[in-house]
């Protein structure tokens, strides 16, 4: 293979990307060397098994991916502003809408939420870490290297260009030769390992590591949403694993699953993809529901209305999420019976979702609402998300879907649910739990600026797309006709508004780090659940003494009784897992194997795979049982952080 086939050439924007990658990497290497921080990076971060640090790494990576996906989005919006724009070529445009969708769903939304779960769930249930801390680190590195593999495609080998859904036969070897599509398949496969492992890990953590006395129906609602989400992850991700593997075997080893030759069945890919893909939608929305429920209860200063109904509606949504996948391809023409069945099941989902909406409203009803930044995101979520829900029911009607299908109406719909649901929740959750993570709040004034920019930008961007869609503008076209121009101009303006909101948000991180007053006690918002019972910064073992729980809103009753998580009479030595660099190394080797397989260098891929197996064998012989934190040390740490 020649060098100019290995690197992507001929696009000025991509040369710009290459230059900036080289600059940022050298700057990072220079800073780490200059400040002598390599040891710190390795010991504190790359080898950590602490759920709080892993969570922070998830969120930082997700913010970087949000930036990448956002830049893709802005480039698409520029190209679509006026008819016959010459900003992006057709090929480059195809690559960008593919990476935008994939990055945002797989490498932004999920890791962001999983990052929040990592930090918050053990704290909410009174646990000292995950059930399997080693596996948790492994999950993070598998996601991280998966994301890197996918992202490297735009400078090396070329990006995938068959859409984030990668329908066959277009995505097959005959019509998409070269490494681009392989990057998609293997990047997702690598990240998917970590997602499944996290699902199992979190489920065991929640089932087995709750504070004494905490029954399932006394868990904080975010923990409940996490438990339901892990259930979906465990049962949906294997389907993706298989679908990706089958297409990889098709492309690299010449099998005939989704091909047009050998009596293959291209639509079987769509079937499998959406069997995973629809539950995936709920994997990214249920945790968002949990986050909003926490925030609304905290800042309405009321117990969440209809706690049990909230839980059951989530369970029902999880069950239904596996029964609606065909609504993504009604126009395949499977026939009236098939479409009717899935049309009905689709509309059923509106029922439990409606229950949740009314519960949030009832929580807010007659309460003293504190308008904080986190609460603003939550309040904006309700009406915005309902709009997306209503268009969703419209799309769920099979007959009408033939009209909406593949148009900008659909684009508007799923951005209304994914941005107003998931992205708002990511911002809200980050703002809300920020003091727990970093020991200071984000600045409220700047936070509200960023909120208003983003919210208004969002509606200006996506509301017009409903109409331009009904006017016939299809998705995934790289140039528009003059009739669609006015609404597209508005849309682009809105997209830049969202961009400004994001920039202000990131600036706020810097500004607050410099200027925000440090937290003195751990309870930044007068919270209700156990995560606020820990001091800030949270000691690495979380709870010096684990409280006994006897009801909902455990911390609220602790505060009434004057209890803390530092009861000197009950202190015992705490068992903690040791740090290890093996997850990083193992996933690094698997990254190498996947990269080789992308270019179909089978020998090298086999070497990498054997290396991974050897790492697993080494792990099997590892009898490291962690270490104990002695009582005296706990006392010392607790007195320092509590200012006693």
């Amino acid at each position: 293979m020649k060098l100019d086939e290995f690197f992507v050439t001929g696009e000025p924007l991509i040369y710009g990307g290459m230059v900036s990658i080289v600059l940022v990497t050298s700057a990072a290497i220079f800073l780490l060397t200059y400040l002598k921080r390599w040891g710190w990076l390795w010991q504190e971060w790359l080898t950590t098994v602490d759920h709080k640090k892993i969570g922070i790494m998830y969120i930082l990576s997700a913010l970087a991916m949000l930036f990448r996906g956002g830049v893709d989005a802005l480039m698409m919006r520029i190209q679509l502003t006026f008819p016959n724009m010459n900003f992006l070529g057709a090929q480059h445009y195809d690559e960008i809408f593919t990476t935008h969708g994939t990055v945002m769903i797989i490498f932004m939304a999920m890791p962001f939420l999983i990052g929040l779960m990592n930090i918050v769930v053990p704290l909410q249930i009174g646990a000292r870490d995950f059930a399997f801390p080693f596996l948790n680190a492994l999950s993070f590195w598998s996601f991280f290297f998966g994301a890197m593999l996918f992202n490297v495609s735009f400078v090396i080998g070329g990006s995938p260009d068959a859409g984030w859904t990668s329908y066959t036969p277009l995505a097959g070897a005959a019509l998409s030769p070269g490494p681009g599509q392989n990057f998609y398949l293997l990047g997702l496969q690598l990240a998917g390992i970590g997602t499944l492992a996290t699902g199992i890990n979190l489920m065991v953590t929640i089932l087995k590591m709750r504070a004494p006395g905490m029954k399932l129906f006394q868990m904080p609602i975010f923990t409940w949403s996490t438990l339901v989400t892990t259930f979906i992850i465990i049962f949906a991700f294997p389907i993706l694993t298989v679908a990706l593997a089958l297409m990889t075997i098709d492309r690299i080893f010449g099998a005939q699953f989704f091909t047009l030759t050998g009596e293959g069945m291209p639509m079987m890919w769509a079937n499998l993809f959406w069997m995973w893909g629809h539950p995936e939608v709920y994997i990214v929305i249920l945790p968002a529901f949990g986050i909003f429920s926490e925030i609304i209860a905290t800042f309405a200063r009321k117990q969440l209305f209809g706690y049990k109904a909230m839980v059951w509606s989530m369970i029902l949504i999880a069950g239904l999420s596996f029964l609606v996948w065909v609504h993504h391809f009604f126009t395949m023409g499977a026939g009236a019976l098939v479409n009717s069945v899935f049309s009905v099941s689709t509309m059923l989902i509106a029922v439990p979702t409606g229950v949740k909406i009314f519960n949030w409203l009832a929580t807010l009803y007659k309460s003293r609402i504190q308008i904080t930044t986190a609460m603003l995101w939550a309040l904006a979520f309700i009406p915005s998300f309902v709009m997306g829900g209503v268009t969703g029911v419209m799309l769920g009607m099979a007959a009408a879907d033939y009209q909406f299908h593949n148009s900008y109406f659909l684009i508007a719909h799923f951005h209304y649910v994914l941005i107003a649901g998931t992205v708002f929740a990511c911002f809200a959750g980050l703002v809300y739990w920020y003091p727990k993570m970093f020991g200071h709040k984000m600045n409220e004034r700047i936070g509200k600026h960023s909120f208003w920019w983003f919210l208004i930008g969002f509606h200006v961007c996506f509301f017009p797309q409903h109409f331009v869609g009904l006017d016939g503008m299809p998705r995934r076209i790289f140039t528009i006709i003059p009739e669609w121009m006015p609404l597209n101009v508005i849309s682009t303006v809105g997209a830049f508004g969202m961009g400004v909101g994001f920039v202000i948000f990131v600036y706020n991180i810097y500004y607050s780090w410099k200027n925000s007053p440090r937290e003195t006690n751990g309870d930044a918002w007068d919270g209700r659940t156990l995560e606020w019972a820990t001091p800030t910064p949270v000691p690495f073992y979380n709870f010096a003494t684990v409280p006994k729980v006897s009801g909902l809103d455990a911390f609220l009753s602790m505060k009434k009784k004057g209890e803390t998580t530092f009861d000197e009479t009950k202190l015992e030595a705490i068992h903690m897992p040791s740090n290890t660099g093996r997850p990083f190394i193992m996933m690094g080797i698997l990254f190498f194997a996947s990269f080789a397989l992308v270019f179909e260098w089978i020998g090298l891929a086999a070497v990498g795979l054997i290396g991974t197996l050897i790492m697993m064998g080494i792990r099997s012989f590892d009898y490291d049982e962690g270490y104990y934190v002695e009582v005296d040390e706990i006392k010392k740490i607790e007195r320092t952080v509590r200012g006693l």
């Binding site: 859409g163 859904t165 329908y167 036969p169 089932l207 259930f231 465990i234 049962f235 389907i239 009596e263 069945m265 291209p266 639509m267 079987m268 769509a270 079937n271 499998l272 069997m275 893909g277 596996f322 029964l323 996948w325 065909v326 993504h328 391809f329 009604f330 126009t331 395949m332 023409g333 499977a334 026939g335 019976l337 098939v338 299908h405 593949n406 659909l410 799923f414 998705r475 995934r476």
Partner: protein, 121 residues
């Protein structure tokens, strides 16, 4: 801890014998009997499910209370098999409707109605 070294693992032996009998029964039903094909398929699938149950309950101690796992193992297996049914039956239901092999008497190829593949989220 049961110190029953002398005891025969009765449950395992019964499970093993049952498995062999069920396997032979399935082979007979498929290759030796004169049942209609549809009934053969139903019968041998039922036998397979029974055999899977033997493995899970008699060999894998799925409901063993000493595990402290409560209903979780049973629950995950149950839902796993429900999902399996949805995935297999749902795929067959979705992918076979409207894709008859000889539509309009055209025998030229299978799945000739798949040209209209449109993308949709």
């Amino acid at each position: 801890m049961e110190k029953n070294t002398k005891h025969l693992p009765v449950q395992h032996i019964i499970g093993f014998l049952l498995s062999i009998v069920l396997t032979l029964l399935a082979v007979w039903a498929a290759l030796g009997s004169d049942l209609p094909v549809k009934w053969i398929i139903i019968a041998i699938m039922v036998l397979a499910v029974i055999q899977a149950g033997i493995q899970l309950f008699m060999f894998m101690h799925m409901t063993e209370s000493a595990s402290g796992g409560g209903h979780v193992p049973w629950n995950m297996m149950f839902h796993g098999f429900v999902l399996a049914a949805i995935v297999v039956a749902g795929s067959l239901f979705t992918m076979s409707f409207g894709f008859t092999h000889d539509h309009d008497g055209d025998h030229s190829g299978h799945g000739s109605h798949q040209e209209e593949q449109q993308m949709h989220d």
